[in-house]
Structure formats: C-alpha cells, structure tokens
Amino acid sequence: MNPEQNKSCEDSESLLVRKLTGELFPEEEESLESHLAQCTSCTAEEQELTRVWQEVGSLPAPEIPAKLFEKTREAILGHLRQQQSPWSWVRRVPREGVGSLLSPFAAGLVTAGVSFALIRNLIDLRVHSQHILLALFGLWAVLFAGSFWPIFVGEGKKYPLLDAVPTFSISITLLTLLISYLASGIDSLRWLSISAAHEVAAASSYLFGIGNTFVSGWWIYACVASFIGAFFFGFRRGPALSGNLLSGPFLVAVLLLPAIYLHGSSHGHGYVILALAALGTFVGALAGTGLASFILILRRILIPVA
C-alpha cells in the first residue's frame, strides 16, 4: 500500500463511524464512497463497524412502567391545574417587562396606605416620625408585595435582585417595628435596655463618640435586621456571596436614605447616621451570609447526600 493510499485509508477510518451516526457532510460522504469503491480493506472495515453498530443498537428500548408514567403525568397535571385556579392569580403576573415591576409596586403602595392609616389611628405620632413611618411603610410594603414574586412566580429563577427582595422585606419590617416602638413615646427607648443589644449599643456609642442610644440602637438593629435577612437568604439559596453582600446592603442603604436622613437631621447628626446605617447593613449581611454558608457546609459534612 503506497503512502497516499495509506493516508486515504486513515481519513476514511475516521469517517466510517460518522457515517454510521449520520454525521457526514455530503462532500465527505462522496469522498468516502469513492475511496470505498477502490479499497477492499476499508470496505471490510465498514462492514465490520456496521455489524458492531447494529449489534449495539439491537437492544430493545426498555418500556416505562405504566404506573410510573401515570404517576408523573398526574403530578405535573396537578401542578398545572393548581396554577390555573382562581387563587393562583399571583402566578399569572407577567414575568417580564414593565408589568413585572409595576405590579408589586402598586400592591405595595396600596398596602402602605392601608398600613399607615391604621397605625396613625392607633398611635399619636410625632410629626417627624410620621415622615419616617410613611417612608418606611412604603418601602416595606413594596418589598413585602415584591417578595411574593420569587416565591410564587420565580419558580427557581436565580435573579439576584429578585432573590434580594424577601431579604430586605424582613429587614425593613424589623426596622419599621423599631421605629413604631420609638414613635410611640420616649419611654419606649427603655425597651432597648432590657435587651442584650443595649450593651453593644453602649459600646458603639463609646467607640463612635455619639452619645445617643437611639442612634446606636438603630445601627445595631440595622445589623440584626440585615443579619436575619441575609441568613434566610443564604439558607434558602446557598452562599450567594456576590449577590448578597454587594447588591443587598447597597439597596438597603439606598432605600433607607430618605428616612435615615430625616431622622439624622432631626437629631443633629446629619450624614454620620447614614454611614452608620450603611455600615450596619453591610456587617449584618456579611455575618448572616457567613453563618448561612457555614451551616450549609456543616450540613453537607454531617448529613451526606443520600
């Protein structure tokens, strides 16, 4: 066999399997056929490979058990029907476009209005506290409404901003509760003293040189709120550090700016309180995500996947 013929045989060899799998381009097929017409050894090779290919494929396809087929079908049809029921209207909110942003926003505004009206009738609020409450309730309600988005509609979508919503719903809720306590009267500051946080607040007050328990308390609770939020986030989604640590606290800081500034101005602290609150949310998120990641890792070590 001359070298040229040898090379041609080598080329054909790699084409033979592709011929079996139907992957040859027309020009390759033409070239192969022309080679096979004049090469007995490659023709024999083709017959042999065809035999092997047919033998491998001679195993009949296994039949799926009828029970398994029906069970799976019914399970999914059940899900589909459930989603089409009148109660699952939230699932049919458009998933993309402006509507996806406006729907939770509108729901949030309505909730905020109702909540604020109720609170205002129950508590004699001070004027500046009303502004804070209004802003916080608005933010809380928007986030609260939006938190249903990833839960009911997201269905496993991993959009960092959507995932962040429930986290900050919790954060803002806790902050709102704090403001509600404080707004109900100066005596309510005392409730801080019965918590362990008071000790940390006192230390913070000393370190930062701000002699105001309220400011320190806020900082502490920003930490706690973000910590809890980040913890839930991390536990549910895994250690999504980038989404959680960067976008999350940043969002909280930005969303809280108006309310924090209002409060800071009224107490003569100005922008210092902004930095404290932002720091608090970052520290809280870091601790929360770290703990969540630690628990996930620990769980994998202690409870191996079955």
């Binding site: 790699s14 399997v17 592709r18 079996l20 799998t21 139907g22 992957e23 042999e48 490979l49 092997v52 290919w53 033998e55 491998v56 494929g57 001679s58 195993l59 009949p60 396809a61 296994p62 039949e63 799926i64 058990p65 398994l68 087929f69 069970k71 799976t72 079908r73 399970a75 999914i76 049809l77 899900h79 589909l80 029907r81 989603q83 089409q84 998933r95 269905e155 496993g156 979508k157 191996p304 996947v305 079955a306």
Partner: protein
C-alpha cells in the same frame, strides 16, 4: 394519543407541532401541550436513565425528578435551545449528581467496571437474543469511560446528533466525535475477543 392540532403548510401538508412550539404553549399553562411533550419524551428519558444508571429504582426517582424540573423550570426555557437537548441536559445532570453522590457515600460505585458488569442495567424481558452476546455487550459497556458511555447512549440509543450531545454534555462536537469513535472501536475489539 391523537395530535393536538394540525397545521397546514404552504403545500397543503399537515405537520405536528415542534417540541419548541409545544413548550411555548406549555409555558402558558396548556395541559394538552404538556401531555403531548410528555408522551414524546417519557419513554426516551426513561430509557436514557435506565441505561445510564442501571437500576430501575434509581431510574424511577430520577425520571420523576427530570419531568418535575422541566415543569418547574419551564419559564426559563428559551426556544433558541432545542427542547430535546434541554430535557436531556436536565436528565444527564441528575444522573451525574446521583452517580457522584452515591460514589461519595460509598454505598454505590455507580457504573464502575465491577458492578456494572453484573448490574441490572438491561431490564428483564428486553434482553437481546443470546446470553453470550448479552454478557459480552455488558462487559464491553462496563469498560467504557463514563464520558464514552454517556455519548454512546445519547447517540445510539437516544438518537441525538453530535451537536445535541455536545450541548447535553457540555463538550465540543469534535470531542463528542472522538468519544463515539473510541466507544465504537472499543465495542468492536470486545466483540472480536468474545
């Protein structure tokens, strides 16, 4: 199951909806579209899982999980990706996870040579003629690398094209070609020896 609807094309012929068209309707909650797509793929996915895992119990669990994932993730599906490659990718990832998890736990060295040669990866009642042939086939299959086994199952038994297999396995078309070339030649050598 009768087709859901018939579409006339320009030549007046009728054609069944494509997988991608069915998925678009399934995404909007169409039960009939789900039923059609399920009937198209249930048997194929079951066959794929059984040939990859070998054990009907594992296979049943992953079969359900595959279709539940398809259902849960249907809103993420984009028609730019062929549905066939998408659903096999889901099933294949589940198989990989299962094999890794069981190998880690030490309870099951999935598809390794020793176990697979004695395993039950071909279900009863569907064995080909001739016990010797079956044995040599099982031995040959067991000696493939996991990648080769994955590629040959998707190609020979599931009828996927190289490009589709590449998507499922996360490999290039050329890499798939190499895997299948080696697998076929391996089978030939094993059959020759037996």
């Amino acid at each position: 199951m009768p087709p859901l609807f018939r579409m006339s094309n320009r030549e007046g012929l009728v054609s069944d909806p494509t997988d991608e068209e069915l998925m678009a309707r399934y995404q909007s909650g169409d039960e009939a579209a789900f039923e059609e797509i399920y009937s198209r793929y249930a048997k194929r996915i079951y066959g794929f899982l059984l040939r990859r895992l070998g054990h009907p119990d594992d296979c049943a669990e992953l079969f359900q999980e595959t279709f539940l994932r398809v259902h849960r993730s249907r809103s993420l599906y984009r028609p730019e990706m062929p549905f066939k490659a998408w659903v096999y990718t889901i099933a294949n990832n589940l198989v990989r996870d299962r094999v890794r998890a069981k190998a880690r736990s030490g309870a099951f060295r999935a598809l390794n040579e020793e176990e697979n040669s004695e395993g039950n990866w071909i279900v009863e009642g569907v064995t080909p003629d001739g016990g010797d042939k079956l044995l040599s086939f099982k031995e040959a299959f067991a000696k493939l690398t996991d990648d080769q086994r994955e590629a040959i199952v998707l190609s020979r038994f599931q009828g996927l094209k190289y490009e589709e297999i590449g998507r499922v396995m996360g490999r290039s078309t050329e890499a798939v070609n190499q895997l299948i070339q080696r697998a076929v030649r391996h089978f030939r050598e094993c059959f020759d020896e037996s």
